[in-house]
């Protein structure tokens, strides 16, 4: 069988249904094979290779399956770097198959040759070059094993042209073992005992929920754990939707623009239980003052995350799907009503100082938060939220509400502007029955605006909500607060986005007044077609609360206190 066909069959053997790609010289044989597999794969031609990767990420996040990228060598390959880095930071399973020049040309600076393995080794779980046809099946099998097991991540397969064209026998065996790679480290019972002893004694326990819970499919196990010992919990950006918004013990969102109560309580709790999260600096602020009063229990599948940023008292290495039930079994039933009630005073402060004005602005200027909440309400908290990066992302994370898991697709670790449109496309393919709502700003929207072409060509029913303030808003916010209002390189001279949507034959509406918002949202949601809703929001809007970078987690700015 020809190498390009071996790849097709190997992808089939792994259950691949959807492929995002963009063709080019060094991958033509694979696309030629794909021509014979049009009824087997749902292949989506994106408009740029960066879009290919973000779509694959969106797909992986909503479906739980690895995202598959198929691109050419050289520039096609280098254009995937941002998405690969993003997937590495956010633990997204993704397999990027890049064309490569023929083996005999390697190292000669041949046309569209780039050292893809060398470039991507630092930002992948595994990067591997396939030099001959007889290596393809094993490489693909290993790629899927590595990308999807343990802490997931991106894998690069650099596929030389001669390997695509050569022939050999096809045999496929799924990989289930790789020496030295321990995807699911064994849980140590003694650690579970130590952790449960701490939790049982705790008067003020507090749990932080990261994406590890979602990746481990441990949402139910999390709820059981929290319920049994009556432990309040809050989510990181990527951990959002692991708990439903209205879950009794869900105390919101932690981090720089998170809720006041959970950030304050981080420095008041006596036992801090971190579950599948990595203490990113946007969560912790200054580490020297972070949760110093607390005993820290860290549950994570990746041993290198433990003690990396925050020193822990009990280190529980393992899959949350296993460690959480083991803990639940061992902890005692408990009641922390007073402790939980003590969150309320901060919730009230946040409502009075931030949320009230954001959701019910008294002037006619539209705020980002109210648009987000209205869309969330109109979709019955059932929709998938996709965000770009910046103020739009933080407003969306703060005000969107969730009833189902795997409901947020956002670029957390890398913070990639331009992530939004392609990620929304991928998210829709990963969850075709769900409503997918993108919130993007005018900056990020224009970074991958060409993917409107993908939406048009494939009639991808995504709801695009452009929160337009004619500024690169998050940078502008920092300039306003920390750089004496010197708006260097942040005002945007924007095109007519509705005309652009018209050109792509995407239904659209432009809202400039609050009174038009509800009906426009209804119009957007009335059918399954793609829709662009451009909302002119307050130009000088600020995302509050805010903990300035590098300061202590309790140093929270609000409109009443922003000195």
């Amino acid at each position: 069988m020809k190498g390009s066909y071996i790849l097709m069959e190997s992808l089939r053997a792994e259950g691949v249904e959807t492929i995002f790609g963009y063709p080019g010289g060094s991958i033509i044989p694979v696309f030629d094979a794909l021509y014979d597999y049009q009824d087997k794969f749902n292949y989506i031609l994106m408009r740029h290779e960066q879009g290919v990767t973000h779509a694959a990420q969106g797909y992986a996040r909503t479906s739980g399956k690895p995202g598959i990228c198929l691109v050419t060598s050289g520039p096609g390959a280098t254009n995937t770097i941002t998405g690969i880095g993003d997937a590495m930071m956010d633990s997204t399973p993704m397999i990027v198959i890049t064309g490569q020049v023929g083996t005999s040309f390697l190292g000669t600076d041949a046309f569209q040759e780039i050292d893809m393995v060398g470039i991507t080794q630092p930002i992948t779980k595994w990067a591997h070059q396939i030099r001959h046809a007889d290596e393809i099946a094993e490489a693909v099998s290993r790629a899927f094993y590595i990308a999807t097991t343990g802490r997931p991540g991106p894998v690069v397969l650099d596929f030389t042209k001669n390997a695509q064209l050569e022939s050999c026998d096809f045999n496929y065996t799924k990989t289930t073992y790789s020496r030295g790679y321990i995807p699911f480290p064994e849980m140590e019972l003694s650690k579970i005992e130590e952790a449960s002893a701490l939790i049982n004694k705790a008067k003020a326990p507090f749990a932080l929920v990261g994406q590890g819970v979602i990746l481990g499919n441990a949402e139910k196990e999390l709820i059981d754990f929290l319920e049994k010992a009556d432990i309040p919990a809050a989510s990181t950006l990527l951990g959002l939707s692991a708990m439903p918004t209205d879950f009794r013990l869900n105390k919101g969102f932690i981090g720089m623009h998170g809720n006041i109560a959970p950030n304050m309580k981080t420095n008041e709790c006596d036992v801090l239980i971190a579950i599948g999260m990595r203490f990113d600096d946007r969560v912790t602020g200054d580490l020297a003052t972070y949760a110093k009063q607390a005993k820290v229990i860290h549950l994570d599948i990746d041993p290198s995350e433990i003690d990396k940023n925050v020193k822990t008292t009990v280190k529980v290495v393992g899959n949350a799907k296993e460690t959480l039930p083991a803990l639940t079994k061992m902890i005692e039933k408990n009641n922390h009503a007073d402790w939980i009630k003590s969150f309320d005073v901060y919730d009230k402060k946040e409502y009075d100082e931030v949320i009230k004005q954001e959701l019910n602005p008294t002037d006619d200027k539209i705020t980002m938060g109210e648009v987000v909440r209205k869309v969330s309400d109109a979709t019955n908290k059932d929709a998938v939220l996709v965000t770009d990066v910046g103020q739009n992302q933080m407003a969306a994370a703060r005000y969107f509400q969730y009833s189902k898991t795997r409901s947020i697709v956002t670029s957390g670790g890398l913070g990639t502007m331009g992530f939004g449109i392609p990620a929304a496309i991928g998210a829709k393919y990963g969850a075709p029955k769900r409503t997918v709502c993108l919130f993007a700003g005018d900056g990020g929207f224009q970074m991958t605006i060409q993917e409107l072409g993908t939406i048009m060509a494939n009639n991808v029913g995504v709801k695009l909500i452009l929160l337009n303030n004619n500024y690169l808003g998050m940078v502008r916010q920092w300039q306003e607060l920390f750089f004496n209002e010197r708006y260097s390189s942040t005002p945007m001279n924007n095109p007519d986005f509705n005309m652009i949507a018209d050109a792509y034959r995407i239904k659209n509406k432009h809202v400039t007044k609050q009174s038009e918002l509800d009906s426009a949202i209804q119009d957007m949601l009335k059918d399954d077609d793609a829709y662009l809703l451009v909302v002119d929001v307050e130009e000088y809007g600020l995302i509050y609360p805010m903990t300035p970078a590098g300061t202590t987690v309790t140093n929270i700015l609000t409109p009443n206190n922003n000195e």
Partner: protein, 181 residues
Amino acid sequence: MNDILLYTVTIFSENHVGLLNQISNIFTRRGLNIETLSVSPSAISGIHKFTVTTYSDSDTIEKVVKQIDKRVDIIKSFYNTDDELVYQEIALYKVSTEQFLGLGSIEELIRKYNIRILEMTENCVVLEKTGHYDETQGLFHELSEKLTVLQFIRSGRIAINKSKIERLSDMLAKLEVKRQQ
């Protein structure tokens, strides 16, 4: 706790292309300079052993080693301080035969430094000395004072730990049990 010390990092890996890049990337990210490096096949067929020395604090080296260990193609990585190791380097010195014979105190020098003479031609003499850094460096200094050292080369450190536990073989045995399950 945050004193800067010389650490020896021992890494066992699969014998694949690109392993050194994966390892050095992790040192590069944290701005750690690799002082010495030695790579060779290990006692176990198909497994390569890297010995790297670097100056670091204990907190950083621990994180670096965990991040190396996390790489899929790395089988096991750990670190030691000098007191836990028996370690050795080898150095070669090329000097001119005429100058060397003119020293007059060759026997004394050889006894003092435990030198081996590997080669002697009309032009040059090649000396070999094994030992710790300061020992090989000591000979270099003494030779440099007395004559011109034409070439000097020192290998990276190789090391064996004094521990009772054989971490790699224990781990491989465990992995083998796991694989068969």
